[in-house]
Structure formats: structure tokens, C-alpha cells
Amino acid sequence: MSLPARLGAFSPYLQACGPLKALLPGAGNTEVLVKSAVCGHFGARLTHTDIKIPDFSDYRRVEVLDPKKSSQESGDARRAFSYLVTGSTAVVGVYAAKTVVTQFVSSMSASADVLALSQIEIKLSDIPEGKNMAFKWRGKPLFVRHRTEKEIAAEQSVDLSELRDPQHDKDRVTNPIWVIVIGVCTHLGCVPIANAGDYGGDY
């Protein structure tokens, strides 16, 4: 096993031992001279004691820059900082991962334009009393009627036993002044015209 081969990786850190010279002058130590030829200008004798640990001051934290100060005291603080940074990064990372996954998964649900279709805003003050307004909503006609007091009273006094589908008026509206219904007749699907015909539109 040759010293140069073993310590070759360390040649940048080996102290230059001076110009090439044989260890024992005049001795027939050709092996040593051959090794030194391979080593180049690092001298004929290389030992583990020649290995110079590089100075890592550029990378050290402030608390461990001074070689005359024990590193134990600052150990807890340094570890705490490292773990805090690691922990926070982990939390942030997990949150980011969660966000990305959620976004990808929720891309498979209804898109915004479709969702937009599901809502409609109506200015109720535009509808005078007794009148009806129709809107297109979700592809269907939506009737909003501003009921008169007479109509409200009439609806609320209907005998439930006569109804095919018994439900009191107060259960069908939140504010009795406004009745909001899908304008599709349950019989055959006609769209009634408000206040028209023999029965006033029939709803």
C-alpha cells in the first residue's frame, strides 16, 4: 500500500514539506524516492500528522467561532435554532403540500362558470306590488311575485286537506310578501303567464 495512494485525496491539505528530497540522504531507499516522485512537491514523507484540517470558520455559527471557548454551552441554543427552523419549514411545507393537493383535487369539482350559474341576484325593489318577474335561472324560469295583502291572506287560509301536496304557505316562503317559485307547471311543464288567462296565471 503506497502512502501517496492512501493520502492522495488529502494532498490539498497536506503541508508542503519543502522541495523534493530523499529522507535518508545517499541511502539506497529508491522506494521512497519513487513515492516522492509520485507525490510531487509534497516531500518524501507523508503521515497522518501532516493532514491539516481545513479552517471552516466561514461556515461556523458565531457562537463556535472561538476555538478557545467550549462549544457545549451554546449547544442547546444552536440545536434549538436548528430545530425551530426545521420545524417551521416542515409545518410550512406540509401546509403547502396540503394546499397543492387540495387545489388539484378540487379542480375536479364544478368550475366557476357553472357555479356562477347556480346563483342569481334580484333587486326586489324593482318589482311593484301585485306584479311578477321572471328570470332565467339554472336554465329554468324563476318567478318572483310581490304579493298583495289579499293574496297573502288567501294563500294562508287555504285548507290543507284540499291540497294534493299539503304544505302551509308559511312553510313555502320565508317572507310572505315575496313568493319565489320555479315557473314550471307541475302538470305538463307549461310556463304560466302571470295574471293572464282565466285563473290569473294560476299560481
Partner: protein, 465 residues
């Protein structure tokens, strides 16, 4: 290794039929270590046991941690120069003096301690102290010897490359304590071995070989008062003042969780060490950490225990063929340390072994049980007593203790401190040092499978908690 022959005191030989001294007896049997301080601050410590031999040495509180980039390796070089002669005894005379006594003179250098010691007959103590005093205070350090020793040091540097355990652990220190003196290897870079001058060595001695940082330690058949007399005679001249009143103070060394990979696929086995910052020698957490390391223990593929080994990691290693060997280690310095596991494994088992090693650490922090701790405490107590098997280990113990703690900690005290460890204490202390901390990793060899650092860092905690 030399085997020391010590003669049992007469009293013990009467119990020839019985087993050797019981644990309780060995705790209390050792005589108290006596400590005296000279006027210049030099400390003298000895443990007197009735033996014909002794080990006497000088333990100095200096090492590679006190060196700078420029003179890194000076201590090690100096250790080589130490026995090359003094002003009064040139090399041959020194060798002659030592050999004729039948003594052994050795030394070692580590990151924070240096030791020069002699193993000799007890009666030769005066001569031994005289020689040691000369070696430490008036080493000749001739230019010719220095030049000659350069090639020896360089050759030793090259030889060390073959000991991959040393390379791995050295490089672990280099990366864990990068930019600080604790990152220096004791051996120093090869450039310094080529360029250190006599001046550098003399300056090193003048800066660090000071009396208050020295301990003259002895163990064996020595008399403390006699030793103090000899010390006064030979060591009074050791200086205790620093030039410019500049007492070198060790600043704390920053630990950096990091890794270093020396990949070489041509090597047969991978040598890997993973460590966290540990406790300094004087920290109260030392004993619980020693118990924790005993729980993990060590393992070698030659262990015959197989799946009956007590350490869980060893059981797994044996059953799953995870590694060739591993050991839990704790290198303690004055204010910091490295608590880790070192293992040698095949290149396809690295990831598994690393996983189970860190798993063992997590178990220590969370689910260690009463029986684990009880077993570990026993093993630790046994090893502490068992290590002191001779005047040299005892002397080394004394020297290092005085330098680290200012006094010798007796076995009974270690025993009491170990006994006080409970599973909750092990869990709490291990969590304090291991749980969710950045490790330093070093790997040498065919190490492609060593996990990415972030993975290894992530294995230092359990989400379930």
C-alpha cells in the same frame, strides 16, 4: 512487557492455601500515598509497599496540548533526546549506569502529560533519582544527536502509519478538536520533525519543565522520607518561575462535531471511531461514564463467549459477525474529553456496526437496566484493582492522579463512587453527553459504507422519545 517479580510480604504468604487477597482487602490493603511538596512547588508522592523493586519517575504536566502549530512535536522529539546523554553522563555512560543497575529507563508523552520513569531495585533508588534528575534538568541535547534523531522520529512517524488504531484515534482528535491544541498529534507533523532546532527544545523545556508542574512519584520498596531527601538534593534547582511571569494557562478547547474519512480500499479492514465530547478528569460525571463504558464493554473476535457475552453489543457483534473488535473508550483531559466507541470491521459490515453501536448509546441514555449497571460496576471495580498489578502501573497511577486531581484517589474512594452509581444516574449522565449531540467520526480504510454524517447525527436521538 517486562514481568516484575514482587515478593509477597511474609504475612500474606502464611495464607498459601487460600485464594489471593479478597476485593475488600485489596481496597484497604494499599498503604496510603504520602505526598510532600518542596519549597519550589515540586510534589513528591510515594506508595510504600514491602517490595525489593520500585518504579520511580517524574510526571510532568506538559504535552502536545501545550504546543503550538510551530513546535508541535517538540515534546515527542524531546522524549527521543532524553536518553542521549546528559551533561554529566554522556550517552554511553548513561546507558552503562542504567544497565549496570539492571534498571529500565523509559518515557512517554501524551497530550497533557509527560513522564520519565525508571524501574529498578529498591536499593538503587538514590542513583535512579540522580539519573532522572539529570535527564530532566540537564539533558545535553547535542546538535549531532538532534540531527540523528530526526530520521529516527521520521521513521517512527512512518511506522505509526501501520498502526491504524493509532492513526484513527489521532485523526479523531484532529477533527474533533480542530483548530485547538488538543487536535495536535503528540508525534507532530513531519515538517516539524525536520525543522525543530535545539532552541525549540530548550525553549520547550524552559516553558514547561517547572517544579509546580512536576511530580516525583514512586511505588514499591521505597521510604518516603528518604525519597524527599533525595528530591531535595537533586530537584531543588528546578525552576518555578516563568519568563516574563507568563504562566501558560490552558484555555478550553472547542469540540466540533465533524468527520474525517481516510479511504483506502487496499486495506483489509476498516477502523472507525465515533465520539462525543466527554467529561474532564475532575468532573463528577467521570465515574458514571466509566460505568456506562463498562456496560458497552469491549469485544474481540477471539472472545469465546459468543452469544453469552454480557455486553449486548458484544452479543450482537458475535451473532451477526458485525466486527473484528470494538471498545468503548473515554479519553479524559483536564477540562474535556472524548467519549466514544472504536471498532474494526469488514467493509461490508460498517453500516450495521455503526447502527448497533449508536443503538447501544441510545440504550444507555434511555433503557439501561439494574442488571446492566450492576454487572458493569463489578467489571469496572475489578479492572481498576486489576490494573494496579505492579510498581509501574501504581507509580503511573500516582503520577497521573497528582497531576490531575492534586492527590491520589485511593481505591476505596473509587469503589464508593462506583457503588453510588444507579441506572438513573447512568441514564441522566449519558443523556447529558450523548443524546442528540453532534459526534466526531473518523474512519480509515475501505470505508465506503460509512453512512452520511447526517444519518449518523440522526441516530443520536430516538423519535420515540
Amino acid at each position: 512487557h517486562q514481568v516484575l517479580v514482587s515478593f509477597q510480604p511474609l504475612l500474606l504468604s502464611l495464607r498459601r492455601g487460600q485464594a489471593s487477597v479478597s476485593y475488600a482487602q485489596s481496597l484497604l490493603g494499599a498503604p496510603e500515598t504520602r505526598l510532600t511538596t518542596l519549597s519550589n512547588g515540586l510534589r513528591i508522592a510515594s506508595e510504600e509497599t514491602n517490595q525489593a523493586t520500585c518504579t520511580v519517575g517524574l510526571w510532568i504536566g506538559c504535552g502536545s496540548r501545550y504546543e503550538s502549530e510551530k513546535n508541535n512535536g517538540a515534546g515527542f522529539f524531546l522524549e527521543h533526546m532524553a536518553f542521549k546523554g546528559t551533561k554529566k553522563h554522556p550517552q554511553s555512560a548513561l546507558e552503562q549506569a542504567v544497565e549496570s543497575m539492571g534498571a529500565h529507563l523509559s518515557a512517554y508523552t501524551s497530550r497533557e502529560h509527560t513522564a520519565y520513569y525508571m524501574k529498578t531495585l529498591a536499593k538503587d533508588l538514590p542513583k535512579a533519582v540522580e539519573l532522572l534528575a539529570e535527564v530532566v534538568q540537564s539533558s545535553s541535547l547535542s546538535e549531532a544527536d538532534i540531527e540523528q534523531q530526526r530520521s529516527v522520529v521520521l521513521r517512527e512517524l512512518e511506522e505509526v502509519q501501520g498502526s491504524l488504531q493509532d492513526v484513527c484515534l489521532d485523526v479523531l482528535h484532529a477533527t474533533a478538536f480542530q483548530g485547538t491544541p488538543l487536535g495536535h498529534s503528540v508525534l507532530g507533523p513531519s515538517a516539524n520533525a525536520r525543522t525543530l532546532t535545539r532552541n525549540d527544545l530548550v525553549e520547550y523545556i524552559n516553558s514547561h519543565y517547572k517544579a509546580p508542574r512536576m511530580v516525583l512519584a514512586t511505588a514499591g520498596g521505597v521510604n518516603h522520607d528518604e525519597l524527599v531527601g533525595l528530591a531535595k538534593q537533586h530537584f531543588s534547582g528546578v525552576s518555578f518561575e516563568y519568563e516574563g511571569d507568563a504562566v501558560p494557562v490552558l484555555s478550553p478547547c472547542r469540540f466540533t462535531g465533524s468527520e474525517i474519512r481516510m479511504r483506502d480500499d487496499a486495506l483489509p479492514l476498516a477502523h472507525i471511531a465515533i465520539a462525543v465530547e466527554g467529561a474532564g478528569v475532575a468532573s463528577p460525571d467521570i465515574v458514571p461514564l466509566m460505568v456506562a463504558n463498562s456496560i458497552i464493554g469491549s469485544y474481540d473476535i477471539t472472545f469465546g463467549g459468543g452469544k453469552h457475552l454480557s455486553s449486548r453489543l458484544a452479543r450482537l457483534a458475535a451473532e451477526l459477525n458485525l466486527c473484528h473488535s470494538f471498545q468503548a473508550f473515554h479519553s479524559s483531559y483536564s477540562d474535556t474529553g472524548l467519549l466514544g466507541i472504536y471498532f474494526v470491521t469488514d467493509k461490508h459490515k460498517i453500516e450495521d456496526m455503526m447502527h448497533w453501536a449508536q443503538n447501544a448509546w441510545m440504550n444507555l441514555c434511555t433503557t439501561v437496566t439494574e442488571s446492566d449497571v450492576a454487572r458493569a460496576k463489578n467489571a469496572l471495580k475489578a479492572s481498576l484493582v486489576g490494573q494496579l498489578n505492579g510498581t509501574t502501573p501504581v507509580c503511573d497511577d500516582i503520577g497521573r492522579h497528582i497531576l490531575n486531581y492534586g492527590r491520589r484517589i485511593p481505591l476505596a474512594e473509587w469503589d464508593a463512587r462506583i457503588e453510588a452509581v444507579t441506572p438513573k444516574i447512568v441514564r441522566d449522565v449519558c443523556s447529558k453527553y450523548i443524546y442528540d449531540k453532534c459526534p466526531a467520526v473518523s474512519a480509515v480504510g475501505p470505508i465506503e459504507q460509512v453512512p452520511d454524517y447526517n444519518r449518523m447525527r440522526g441516530a443520536m436521538y430516538w423519535l420515540r422519545f
